[in-house]
Symmetry: C2
């Protein structure tokens, strides 16, 4: 079985040439992110991913996490030790504030590192992903006391964090949250009662304590989303000296039996069955949803990267198999050669190139967005921060929604390249396919991302930000269409048509959202896919332009650069034509989505 | 959890209005297939599917088949009994020759019935599917003695049949088959030595005997595919009086641990480890591949129907969940209603309608092809038989290749509609998704179907049959575009464009296959998808035309007919635009698929 290796050359190319690592490293506060430091971090992360996390991936799938009498959860063999090493090596606090023990590195660097964790072992990597979100919320909204008590241990990774949103009756609709938080005798402390489901790493045996961030309602809270507050509920109470106190009244009553990510325990948590779980209000009452969105935004971005990581894993496995497996005579090749590896078969090449091109497109878009997050936080110029922030907000639903949908297609092809062996669990391709399946669901389904994209991100400003990004795409396409390098011309031409299709969709969505919002919602997922398709093609086209320049300057690895151009051209000619089809479905067909009555289904 | 119910109204509509059941029932030999008889058969099959097979589907997934010491296989609880009832009720011999105990019914009827078996329990239905293929091969190529000894029991279902093609080094490439067949002392009998893998129901506990049809090479056989012969190898020898004799030397050494269809044992069979497995030559030496293709063709068609069945199952489950699950406020609806079922959410409607439209499209195409099989066999006019046969040959790779690819999309959406619950195994949507995954792989991967489609089915006759079918599609599209019923006009218009795109692809494929076959092969799967997309749209458009006529005549269920028109329009406006994108990828991008060197992957 092939093992995961971080695609270092590709990652460096995207970071340096597309995401502007050099510029990011010059932002105030990021001066430590020198090229040498970043290179060393990536090397170390890559080693850890391949040597420690990857070998546990299949074990975790086979054994899974198991619930035990008394509400304990046993994780699969090797995971606890791997987590200890992960935390000891300081990986948990990569981007976190040095004040709380973090390393304060740019999001761009963390993005590449996170991709490695997800590529090597998605079920493992979910634990730090969720802890990260909890840290984020505490850093931004927690009181000084809460920060001092909890943040250092969480940043160090000695305690993990969780996000508790969902309840049986409250999935995508958080307005329906019913968990109650009643003020207790102790000032600032509440008692929580209720049940939360789908809590990733809601219980585990990695660490002595778990810090739950929980959405709940106080007795005086208004109805709906405006009455939700955020609470911190530790599994064990923490004494003033930082030592652990009594067990809090939050218990894992079961874990789910899932399609994939078996090693990641998905817990049902009962709050307050034995008198009330002690919780502390984070920030102000009734502003919980707002805070949750802060951490959710980064979690969504991370799930997009998860999509990239699992797609890369699937691609590597399929490519390695195609290089080894000898089967049949490849059409159109030398007939004296009796058999060939399946890599020589045109349709296997088509599948692999589709996997590769789409994975590179999602990666490029994610890293570019990662750099924009850094600029939105740290750029010295306020206008620039605002501009970058607007770009980030537009892109997050796309990186999450489209990136994870692409992961489905890629892991699907990953199975297909293996033929019959792909259906056999021991091969591993099926695990990638199963693991990937959750990514379009959690942290907001694709439809939830798409709702965000048509509403808050497109229609709210009348399409201004959307059109300005399209303007950039058209600018690049125009330049490439007129490039002296003939290889870039078809890329420019196809990107031109695709950008025009995207623009027509924006022109339709903005007014449609205003007046007939059901049709706009019916078009939302195709609209999200259209954005991803075109923005991904844009990033690959940018890469091709850089590669052509470096080739002309005779710099670096010519084979790699030619590959970048060929991959971008394939994407442009074979995938970008879908843009016109999506735009037509959006602008012409959205009413027909809604034409059936309930009983006609 | 929802239970599977055969979509009787839809099945009847497709059989009667699109596939021409009445005409088929008038073909010589099919006179017994009167409307009343067919209606009674469908009712009984539907009952058996819902009452006997469906309740075992989840059990089969959970327990799976298990290999036991001594090479026995234990199937899941209830399966053996269900199989006994299946055979006793005569379902195994539905289309088989009455001479051997079959009922001699048309393929069209069997197609609908088979869809029910696959929809209710795919892992169960594989056993009769494979037996069917073995019967077919014996009926067409076996000696009178072999037929007399084996056929009646197989048709009755007292013994089952298998197809043994694959070996570890011979997957899609049967030229690499190495199993040896050495003439024995007994005339007509051989001894077989070798290993076969991926043998569906290669071992089971349903029946006392299993009849394996096995590809192997005789000592004097030429190299490659021209040296393969077909042998019948019974698990137990059969005495002259029909009683079972000694155990033959074919043994199940293990079964696979698979992504899905857990209840269907996938066996590794060892032939001749203890002196040689006795086998009988079927037909003539070295013509095995040809015979295998005879049974393979029907097996491929059946796997296409499997795709329809599992898609229908997935659709029903998602629709029922969407009707029950209350979550959030649906955009654009009455704001005084605090919550709605998710069926009211526009994107859920889009997903369900995509599932429904695509399932109906694949069903219609499969049933129409089923009727053409009947006409190709039994039409009194030789020219008509030839015409129908040409249509069948063009359609089989499309029904199989496209029908099963659509099953992936549909079961994918089936999970997505369930949100987080879709990822939980107990819901069942994940099982549909896993079970469906094999269908694009076995009986020839999608690429194998696509190779067949571009070569033997398109290029070999210079595109004559392909263009004649497109001519029919254009004829319908033209009529609809000019129809007085305004609802049909957009369907006609979109179908017109899609047919033009398909024609441009045929015009490209025919010469490309001749001169630069690697590019043609690189385009083959998109070409297959394009064919499926347009042919499916054609059948839905035909259905819409009929529905409009029946509405105008005030006949039947107006709600249903309006649904047919609305579904066809959705397909035309939201899905058919992809035709132009696929055609562009084929005609413009096929060279770019092949532009990467091996090391650039």
């Amino acid at each position: 079985m092939s093992s995961y290796r971080a695609p270092m050359q590709e990652m460096r190319f995207v970071m340096n040439e597309l995401a502007g690592l050099e510029q990011v490293g010059k932002l105030p506060g990021y001066e430590d992110a020198t090229p040498d430091t970043v290179a060393a971090i990536l090397e170390e992360a890559s080693k850890f991913a391949t040597e420690v996390l990857d070998p546990l991936n299949a074990v975790g799938d086979r054994e899974g996490a198991t619930w035990q009498e008394g509400g304990k959860v046993k994780t699969a063999t090797g995971f606890k030790d791997a987590y200890r090493r992960f935390a000891e090596n300081g990986w948990n606090g990569l981007t976190k504030n040095p004040e709380h023990g973090g390393q304060g590195l740019p999001q761009l660097v963390a993005t590449a590192v996170e991709e490695m964790w997800h590529g090597a072992n998605m079920a493992f990597a979910l634990c730090p992903l969720l802890t990260q979100g909890a840290i984020e919320a505490l850093e931004l909204c927690g009181s000084d006391k809460l920060k001092a008590t909890f943040l250092p241990k969480m940043v160090e990774g000695v305690w993990t964090g969780t996000m508790n949103l969902t309840e049986p009756q409250a999935g995508s609709d958080l307005a329906a949250v019913r968990t109650r938080a009643v003020p207790s005798d102790k000032p600032g402390a509440y008692k929580l009662y209720g049940q939360k489901i789908f809590i990733t790493y809601g219980e585990q045996d990695y660490t002595d304590n778990i810090i739950h961030l929980v959405l709940a309602r106080t007795p005086t809270a208004p109805e709906g989303v405006k009455g939700i507050s955020l609470f911190l509920v530790p599994k064990f109470m923490v004494n003033d000296d930082g030592s652990l106190g009594v067990r809090n009244d939050v218990h894992c009553v079961s874990i789910e039996h899932k399609l994939g990510i078996h090693a990641s325990p998905t817990a049902v948590l009962a709050y307050g069955d034995h008198g009330g779980a002690v919780g502390y209000l984070v920030g102000e009452e009734n502003r919980g949803l707002e805070y949750m969105f802060i951490m959710m935004n980064l979690a969504r971005f991370s799930v997009g990267i998860e999509g990239v990581g699992i797609a890369e894993r699937s691609y590597q496995r399929a490519r390695d198999y195609a290089r080894d497996r000898v089967q049949g005579r490849a059409p159109g090749l030398d007939k004296t050669v009796p058999t060939a590896t399946i890599l020589q078969h045109p349709d296997v090449r088509r599948m692999l190139l589709t996997m590769k091109a789409q994975t590179e497109a999602t990666r490029s878009l994610a890293y570019v967005t990662g750099a924009a997050i850094d600029n939105a936080r740290r750029h010295p110029d306020a206008d620039a921060r605002k501009r970058h922030q607007a770009f980030v907000e537009l892109m997050i639903p796309i990186v999450k929604g489209w990136g994870t949908e692409i992961a489905q297609e890629v892991t699907y092809l990953g199975v297909q390249v293996h033929g019959g062996m792909g259906f056999i669990e021991e091969t591993g391709a099926a695990q990638d396919y199963r693991d990937a399946r959750i990514t379009t669901i959690y942290e907001g389904t694709t439809a939830i991302q798409a709702n965000d994209l048509i509403g808050r991100k497109t229609a709210r400003d009348g399409g201004v930000v959307a059109r300005s990004v399209i303007g950039e795409i058209v600018g690049l396409a125009t330049a490439l269409s007129a490039d002296a390098n003939g290889a870039l011309v078809p890329i420019g031409n196809e990107l031109q048509s695709a950008a025009a299709a995207l623009k027509s969709a924006v022109d339709w969505v903005v007014p449609a959202y205003g007046k007939a919002s059901r049709a706009a919602h019916a078009a939302s997922v195709p609209y999200l896919r259209l954005w991803g398709l075109v923005a991904g093609g844009w990033q690959l086209a940018r890469g091709a332009q850089v590669a052509a320049r470096l080739l002309a300057e005779n710099k670096g690895d010519a084979t790699f650069y030619r590959g970048k151009i060929a991959t971008a051209r394939f994407y442009a000619e074979c995938l970008l034509p879908q843009a016109a089809a999506l735009a037509r479905a959006i602008t012409l067909g959205s009413e027909s989505v809604l034409a059936l009555s309930d009983e006609q289904f």
